[in-house]
C-alpha cells in the first residue's frame, strides 16, 4: 500500500499544515510520540487518507484507502495553507485539487 501513495504528502495538524515532497521526508520529519497522540491527519496528492503508524526510530506511512474519499477535505486544507503562506491574491477556491497541490509544492517542509 505504501508504494501506491502519490506524493506530495500533506500532513494537517488542525491549523498547521506541512507539505512533504516525498513519503520518506514526511516519515523522517514526523515523530512517533505525536502520531501516538493522533495529532495528525495525512493525505496523498489525490486526496486519499493516509495511515500513520508510530514505529521507531521513524514513523511509517501507509495508504488507508484506495479511493480518494477525502479530496474535498484536502482542498479545504490546502486553500487554508496557501492563504497562510501568502497566496491570498489568487481566488484559490476556483482552482482544481491538482492545481492547489502544484502551488503547495513551493512551500514544502524539508
Amino acid at each position: 500500500m505504501r508504494h501506491m501513495i502519490e506524493p506530495p504528502v500533506i500532513i494537517d495538524e488542525t491549523g498547521d499544515t506541512d507539505v512533504f515532497e516525498t513519503v520518506e521526508s514526511a516519515e523522517l520529519y514526523l515523530e512517533a510520540i505525536d502520531v501516538e497522540d493522533n495529532r495528525f491527519i495525512g493525505f496523498d496528492s489525490r486526496g486519499r487518507l493516509l495511515r500513520l503508524l508510530p514505529t521507531t526510530p521513524r514513523i511509517t506511512i501507509e495508504l488507508a484507502e484506495l479511493v480518494p474519499n477525502h479530496s474535498e477535505q484536502l482542498r479545504a486544507v490546502l486553500i487554508k495553507f496557501l492563504n497562510a503562506c501568502g497566496c491570498a491574491e489568487l481566488d484559490l477556491s476556483d482552482l482544481t485539487l491538482q492545481q492547489l497541490v502544484q502551488k503547495s509544492l513551493a512551500f514544502t517542509t524539508k
Partner: protein, 160 residues
C-alpha cells in the same frame, strides 16, 4: 582496614589501590549501617538517646563533619542514579513532555532528520480565534528553533 564509606569520592581510588581491603571495608560499613537501622527500628527512643550521647562523645566539630559526609553520600547517590537516565536519553534521543503542547529533546532525536538530531523543543502555539487549533506554521511538529516555515514573518517565529 581502610575506612571507605560507600559514596565517598576516594572510594574508586581505594578500590584500585587496595581492592581486597576496600571491599572488606565496604562489607563492614554496610554491616554497621544495617545494624544501626535494626537498632533504630527496634527501639526508636533508645536510638534517639544513643545518638544524643554520641554527639556529646564525638564533639560538635566531628558531628558536623559526619553529617557533612552523610550529605555528600546522599548527593553522590542522587547523581549516580541519574547517570543511566542521561545515557539512555543520549542513546535513544529521548524527549520529555512538558504538558500537552510542549516537549523538550535535550539530546536531539536519532531518527535521522537533519535538524531533529540537534537539541530542540516542540511547541504548539494555540490559535486564539480557533480554540483547539494551532496557528499556521506553529504546530507541534516543528523542531524549534532550527526549522523555518513558509508562514514565518520574523526570525522570532522560530522561538514562539
Amino acid at each position: 582496614m581502610w575506612e571507605c564509606a560507600i559514596g565517598t569520592i576516594t572510594l574508586p581510588v581505594r578500590i584500585a589501590i587496595h581492592p581486597v581491603d576496600t571491599v572488606r571495608g565496604i562489607g563492614a560499613d554496610l554491616g554497621m549501617r544495617a545494624k544501626t537501622f535494626v537498632d533504630i527500628a527496634a527501639d526508636p527512643s533508645g536510638a534517639k538517646e544513643a545518638i544524643t550521647d554520641a554527639l556529646f562523645v564525638v564533639g560538635p566539630n566531628n558531628s558536623i563533619a559526619i553529617i557533612g559526609d552523610a550529605g555528600g553520600q546522599v548527593i553522590f547517590y542522587k547523581v549516580a542514579s541519574f547517570i543511566p537516565t542521561v545515557i539512555n536519553g543520549i542513546r535513544y534521543g529521548r524527549e520529555f513532555k512538558l504538558g500537552k503542547n510542549c516537549r523538550v529533546a535535550p539530546y536531539g532525536n536519532r531518527a535521522g532528520h537533519p535538524t531533529g538530531r540537534f537539541p530542540h523543543y516542540h511547541r504548539s502555539v494555540p490559535d486564539p480565534k480557533r480554540p483547539g487549533d494551532s496557528l499556521p506554521g506553529q504546530g507541534i511538529k516543528r523542531h524549534r528553533p532550527w526549522d523555518t516555515k513558509p508562514n514565518d514573518k520574523s526570525f522570532w517565529d522560530r522561538f514562539e
